[in-house]
Every structure is written in C-alpha cells, then in structure tokens.
Amino acid sequence: MNRSDRLLVGQFIERKSILHRLDPRIKLISLLMLMVVIMMLDHRSGYVAATIAVVVILLVSRIPVLFYLRGLLPLLPVLLLTLLYHAMLGKGQTILASYGFLQVTVEGIEEGIRIVWRILLMILPASALTGTTRPLVLAQGLETLLKPLSKLRVPVEQFSLMVVIAIRFIPTILEEIHRIRLARRARGFEPSSRNPLSRLSEFIPILVPLLVSTARRADHLTLAIEARAYGDGRGRTVYRPLCLTKLDLAAGLLMLLSLSALLVLDDYLPHI
C-alpha cells in the first residue's frame, strides 16, 4: 500500500495543530481570500509579506516541510516551463541575449519569477488545507458552503455525494491498478527500465480493464444507493454536524485582518 499512498494527491496528515482543529469552512474561505489577495498584489514588497504569511501558515500546520516540497515535485515541469516562457518570450527593453524571435530580457525573467512565485504562494496554502483536513470533512465543508446554491436548483447534495465517492474510491482504484499490473507481471510482462516514457506507456494497456471495472463498480454503487432509498439526497442529516467554535471565529477574523493588512502594505510599503 506504500506505493499508492505516495501517489495520493492532497493527502491528509494526522497531527495536533490549530489548523487541524479549525472548521473546514473557515479554512476554505480563508484559502479563497488568500488566493484573491495574492492575485491582487502588485509590488515585490507585497510578495515578501505574503511569503511570510504563507510560511507562518505552513509552520502552524506542524506538517513536515518535506511533505510540502514533495507535493511540489510533480508541478516542477509546469513551473519551469512557465519561467522559461516568460523569460524567452516576454517583452522588455533590457535585452540579455536574442536568437531569432526568442529574446531573453531582464523584465521577462522578472515577470517569470513573479508568476512562478505567485503560483507557489497559492499552491502551498492549498496543500496545507488538504494536509490538515480529512477529505470527507472537507467535502462536508464544501457542501455547507454551497448550500445556498440549492435555492437556485443546483443539486448541491448530489454534487457533494459525488465528491465524497470520488475521494473514497481513490484507494480502491489504486488497488485495482496494482492488481492488474501484478497480473501482467505474473504472466511474464517485464516492467521496462527506468525510462520514464516507457514506464508511462506501461499504464496505457491498464486503462481498458480499469475503466471496465470502474464502470461496473459505479453501476453496483448506484444500485446500492438506490436500494437504500437515497432519492435525490435532499434533507439528509450528518453524523457529526459542523459547528463554529470561538477558535474558528478568532482564526477567521485574524485571517481577515492580516489579509487586509497585506493589501495595505502592498500599496504603502516602500517599493523595493
């Protein structure tokens, strides 16, 4: 099971921290606000301040830094590509080198760094959210936040059930992959060397049986849900209802204040 654990995106890590105890709704809203504020930052000083805020959040979560870094690993190619794109195709006056239509400019590099930095500032708190919140609690929080939408006839309950099922079945599907790979190996298939491309191609023939079994499983699940008279899911109760504590309100207020401070600082700090 070790291998599939590593594959899991947005993995929950059990720790005793304030972030773990907070209500998922507060965390979701705070994350959303933080992301919006980061999008609104204009100056480098603002970025520095935001970085400090993000680092504080990560430290408070008590989750090992290594976990966060490992979570960034799959994004590395995207980040690098973004950086290169801006560095080579960005517009600017200070030309460092040029080759045909490619132009490396100081402004381009700066812009690239700024965007990569911005992406990092948004991803890291997001993984702090998934790292400190159980997936099912997170889905529950999402459902309560989206509840007003059901007035507009948006099927919020069904959507939330969908999310919960998707989360619940990630380990099952990983196990399925493992089983099919094992069956192939047992019949003489030799997983190829370290070449990442050929290792990737090993997964393509697995997709067909995986899709078949997943579809079959979904079918069974539908029957099971209907057999228990789920209906459209409206009016369902939860075992552990979410309730806001003083800690939650305090944390939300603190977040609001620091984010406003961040916006003000971005405009009034001496621009570096």
């Binding site: 094992l182 069956a183 047992a186 019949r187 298939f189 697995i206 049986p209």
Partner: protein
C-alpha cells in the same frame, strides 16, 4: 550404478526448495523460518487461518516478494535477483490470483489467452496452436476469440483467466483460492479440470500444483501433500492422509476444521467403539468405512432407530 547416481542428481535438482526463509512486510514478520520443498508431480495444499501467511508464501514462490532472508532454489538453480539483490518474478511458474476474473486485462479473448506466450516470444503459429489446444478443455468456443473478455459470463471469465495462465504450460502452478465464491457444481468442475491438467502432463513434465484453500473437503479430496501454516510458521508438511487421519491435533492447534466426512467418521467411530481406518482421507473412502460400520451394526441386530 551410473543410473542410480543420475537419478539422485535429478532428484536433488528438482523441486522448489525454501531453506530457512523469513519474510517481513512493513516490519512485521509474516513468515518465520520456513523449510518447505514442493516436489515435481505433486499437488500440495497450503492451508492455515486468514493471516497465517499463505498468500505471502505463494507469492514468494512466484518471486513477487522482493526481499526475504534464507535461500530459495528453483529446480536446482538459485533464484534470479536484480542488481539491487531483490527477487525477480519467475516466469516458469503460473500464478492464479484470488478472483481470477479480476485479472483479465486484454481487449479480446484471443489477446488475453496469448499474452503469456507473446511475452515469452512464441511464434504466431505456436500461439495459434496453443490456443486451439486449450479452448475445448475450458469449455470456450472459437467464436469467442475476437470478443471482449469483459462481455463473457462470470464462469467463462474465470475459466478464461485460468486458461490464460495454464496455456504457458507452467512447471509449477500456484492457485490462490481459485474456487472462492463459486457454486458447488462449478467448484467441483473447476477443481477436477485443474487436477486433470496436473495429472495429464507428459511424463517428463511432472506438473506441480500449490493450492491455497479454506475448504478442507477440497484439500482432502485433491491433495497429495498438505502444508499447514500457523502464525507464519510451517506447522506440518505431510501427506493429506497422515495429517487428516492421524495427526488432526495439529489442525486443531492451527485452528483449522476437519473435512466434514472425517468428522462423521470420527463420530461414527466413537459411537460404535470401532477403529475405522479408511484407505485414504478422500470422501468416498471415508464414507465407505462409515457405511460399513452402519451395516455391521444392522447385522448384530440392534434396533435401527437407536444410535449404536
């Protein structure tokens, strides 16, 4: 003289031999100091409670457990290992996992059947011949070949999955509860088919089977030898007759039941006060003795509605 030496050499080289093998999975010892040899031409049952280490032991034989201590010799050869010293999958051993129908992965029945042969590098002529030879044994028709295996019925899928392993003609076949969740008739059919496959191998092939099962009736019926695992240790490795008829205390030590027919035999023996020694632990032989005890009682003229 020369012949005898030759024979001993062959005997020494054959079989699948574990010497003092220990396996730890995630730090917990699962198998402890296992000494076990699977001999060619024998059907060995592997029994034990859930969690006793049966599946791990079976996977070890196939080379699916990368790290273990001790020695594993396959037909006289040391186990092949990769550069990091980890065990490699043994292609000559066939492995049927639990719920075989879940191990189907190809897009057509033909591709599914030929997978192992293609991996081995057989020519397309050889592959076609092998497929034609194996289809009737498993009750599959040629019209199915181009169909998707996922459209077959449950029983067909299971037979297809097992056929796709047997088609490579493994020297040792490992069956991890192949009959789980089958109805009694299909179970008997499948076991008989596998038993026939094992026996009908050519003389020099000496096909061996390692059979994991929870049903003691099947174990008593089909096995030559039985290996009994308890908490990661090998408690017994003996003939099925010896274990079921004379050393049943080992079974109860491992928390395993006796086959129902043998339970009945013991009860009949107790009530009649006779020693009932069947020719083997197979159901027919055991019930034969039970019947005899009843007949003997009738002859002595006891009232027929009272126990012995």
């Amino acid at each position: 003289m020369v012949n005898r030496i030759k024979k001993t050499v062959i005997e020494q080289q054959s079989g699948w031999e574990l010497r003092d093998v220990c396996v730890k999975l995630d730090g917990t010892p699962v198998l402890k100091h296992i000494d076990l040899t699977l001999e060619p031409g024998t059907w060995t049952a592997l029994i034990g409670k859930t969690g006793a280490g049966k599946s791990t032991l079976a996977r070890l034989f196939k080379g699916l457990i990368p790290e273990f201590t001790g020695e594993y010799r396959l037909e006289g050869q040391s186990m092949a290992r990769d550069r990091k010293g980890r065990a490699r999958v043994v292609p000559e051993i066939g492995f049927v996992f639990q719920y075989p129908e879940h191990q189907i992965f190809e897009t057509t029945v033909e591709k599914e059947l030929s997978f192992a042969l293609r991996m081995r590098g057989d020519s397309s002529k050889e592959i076609a011949a092998s497929i034609r030879a194996i289809l009737p044994t498993f009750g599959l028709s040629e019209e199915l070949l181009q169909q998707s295996p996922f459209l077959l019925s449950g029983g067909q899928k299971r037979r297809l999955a097992i056929a796709s392993v047997l088609i490579a003609n493994p020297r040792l076949l490992i069956l991890d509860e192949p009959t789980a969740a089958l109805d009694p008739v299909s179970r008997r059919e499948l076991l008989k088919l596998l038993r026939d496959w094992q026996r009908n191998g050519l003389q020099h092939e000496q096909r061996a089977v390692l059979f994991i099962s929870h049903r003691m009736e099947d174990v008593a019926e089909y096995s030559d030898r039985v290996a009994l695992l308890h908490e990661g240790r090998l408690l017994a490795h003996d003939t099925a007759d010896e274990l079921f008829l004379h050393r049943s205390e080992l079974l109860s030590q491992a928390g395993m039941p006796l086959p129902e027919a043998i339970e009945l035999l013991r009860l009949t023996g107790q009530l009649s006060g006779r020693a009932l020694n069947p020719a083997s632990c197979r159901e027919a032989d055991v019930l034969e003795r039970v019947k005899e005890a009843w007949n003997a009682r009738k002859e002595t003229g006891g009232p027929s509605d009272e126990p012995f």
